[in-house]
């Protein structure tokens, strides 16, 4: 079973839910937790353990200036403006390159080959006997999150139970994370911002045909609008976590709610049961 945790709005508590759900489940079964928020990966902060780091690379073109005739075809072809061909040399802007391989394909003189360039890392650890943690980490200053998410997801491809923690937003990194999942938990908060962005997240899940349920975090009891929205769309409320300074403090210090207050494990086990039904389409 593959489950994504997403939100639209940032800071609603995705990582908190992902970390506590994985921690609770790992007491009874094998679980893999994948941090797909590669721009700001946080899950490893909750599970400090020695880890194995592997580099994520993408192919980028290298022009052989001796063979290049400066015909300009590669520059004309590149849809991203990553190649500028001058009369005597070629300028390449790696941050604009999407590694499509087009320039190499169109070069009539075979003057372009590809070399691997590092854009981030995948960090794998086993913080608990039954818990495998995979974190995708984009190098700072690099704009291309998607290949790092793909590399992180690949490490979990064969695992039976996987929880993916998504980046906020609704664009490519979120689509890449949710793609292929059996269900998703949309974490929201009961503010107009939370509801506005929940609508967008529901839209993304719908476009990808992924069953979604809602988790209301930091509830101050004024959830009527969110509840009404969910009811209208037939979205199940999977769990409600109240606002409480103690919970906020546990999270802020990088601790796990289910470890500090073990009674919460029941609630997260219940959340998982509901998610399983959601994924089955019950």
């Amino acid at each position: 079973m593959k489950l994504a945790i997403a939100s639209g709005k940032g800071g609603t508590g995705k990582s908190m839910v992902a970390a506590n759900l994985a921690f609770t489940l790992s007491r009874t079964r094998q679980v893999t937790l994948v941090d797909c928020d590669v721009e700001e990966p946080n899950l490893y902060l909750f599970f400090p353990t020695p880890a194995i780091v592997t580099e994520v690379t993408v192919p980028v073109p290298v022009v052989d200036e001796n063979t290049c005739q400066h015909c300009g075809l590669c520059g004309e072809f590149c849809q991203y403006g990553a190649m500028t061909v001058l009369p005597d040399r070629v300028l390449f802007f790696p941050e604009l390159c999407h590694s499509c391989g087009g320039c190499m394909l169109v070069c009539p003189n075979n003057a372009i080959h590809e070399e691997q360039k590092r854009i981030g890392t995948v960090v794998i650890s086993r913080p608990l006997p039954n818990l495998k943690l995979i974190s995708g980490m984009l190098d700072t200053g690099n704009p291309h999150a998607v290949p790092v998410i793909q590399a992180a997801k690949k490490e979990a491809a064969e695992d039976p139970l996987v929880i993916y923690d998504s980046a906020p937003g609704t664009s490519c990194p979120v689509v890449e994370t949710m793609d292929g999942c059996d269900g998703c938990i949309l974490v929201t908060e009961s503010t107009p911002f939370g509801l506005h962005d929940l609508r967008l997240a529901v839209d993304v899940a719908g476009r990808l045909n992924i069953p979604a349920g809602v988790l209301i975090n930091r509830s101050d009891g004024k959830d009527q609008e969110t509840l009404g929205f969910c009811k209208d769309l037939g979205l199940e409320i999977l769990m409600t976590i109240p606002f409480n300074r103690e919970i906020a403090a546990i999270q802020s210090r990088g601790n796990l709610l289910c470890q500090v207050q073990p009674t919460w494990q029941n609630a997260f086990t219940g959340l998982f049961t509901k998610c399983r039904d959601l994924c089955k389409g019950d």
Binding site: L45, Q79, G101, A145, L200
Partner: protein, 294 residues
């Protein structure tokens, strides 16, 4: 014109709430942009009156004409984004995965063409304090970095003569964030006292340092975890980054968001007072910046 972007690294630290308050407090002529195009919220606090909407056409997307496709599969083989799928006896492009590279058109110019596709819209609106440029990205669409660029460009073209350009930025450190901070003079990073907040602050500052803006920090909900507020202050001090504001946790903030106004427009709450101090510190920074420019 001085360009200021409010960013955070970590999401949900209070960027939009602070941007909206600054929009009301900062003196001079202003233009605003909401560059969190995935999930734009600034309009919920500035009550904009829409002037016009323009379609946003991102990068072109490949389209396969089944009438000309001979099912050779070359396109799928060459597509590195796994955007071409075989569905029974036809090949089709999944627009959610197509990055518009046009490699498939190169291998099959007969059946495949690149076609423009609207992936969002740019809105130009009026608010009490100046024009607001905001956008809507079609959920699931790519090119959010390009849309950020389009939003900033509209603001600069329409209102380039304003004293200040105030930008509400996206979370993260990737494509939309880099597009937001490029060409900006000052970034204000809003953080919070949590292990994640500090971690993400360090990462986003590392990205900013690859550009040229002056970096300032504000700590939101600073009283919720004093030990981490101290850790943030210690780190900023070591990095020579001024902390220009510390805002306490205050239920008045959520209250004002629910009412659709900046917190500084409601009664004099502790958060509102703290933001006023932040604003006067920012004004001082702006004076300093203008003097330096001369």
């Amino acid at each position: 014109m001085i360009r200021i972007a409010v960013i955070s690294g970590k999401g949900g630290t209070g960027k939009t709430m602070i941007t909206a308050a600054l929009a009301r407090l900062l003196p001079g002529s202003l233009v605003f942009a909401d560059c969190d195009v995935d999930a734009a919220n600034l309009e919920l606090l500035l009550s904009p009156k829409l002037i016009r909407t323009e379609p946003f056409i991102g990068i072109k997307t490949a389209v396969i004409d089944p009438a000309w496709c001979n099912l050779c599969g070359e396109c799928m083989e060459h597509c590195r984004f796994h955007a071409i799928e075989r569905d029974g006896d036809r090949y089709q492009v999944n627009p959610l995965h197509c990055e518009g590279c046009a490699v498939c058109v190169h291998v099959c110019p007969i059946a495949i063409t690149m076609q423009p596709r609207q992936t969002g819209e740019v809105m130009y609106s009026d608010t009490e304090r100046g024009h607001l440029v905001h956008a809507r990205l079609i959920p699931g669409a790519g090119n959010s970095g390009l849309l950020v660029h389009a939003v900033k460009k509209t603001a600069m073209e329409q209102d380039g003569n304003c004293d200040l350009f105030l930008i509400d930025g996206p979370p993260g450190t990737g494509c939309p964030l880099i597009s937001t901070i490029s060409g900006v003079d000052i970034v204000l990073v809003v953080t919070e006292p949590s292990v994640s907040g500090l971690h993400d602050l360090k990462r986003v500052v590392a990205v900013c340092r690859q550009f040229r803006p002056r970096v300032l920090v504000a700590i939101n909900r600073f009283d919720l975890e004093p030990s981490l507020t101290e850790a943030i202050q210690f780190w900023c001090n070591e990095e020579n980054i001024p902390i220009i504001g510390k805002i306490p946790f205050d239920p008045a903030v959520i209250e004002s968001v629910r009412n659709g106004v900046p917190v500084t427009c409601a009664h004099a709450s502790p958060a509102a007072q703290a933001i006023q101090i932040l604003e006067s510190n920012l004004e001082q920074e702006l004076r300093f910046y203008r003097d330096q420019r001369k």
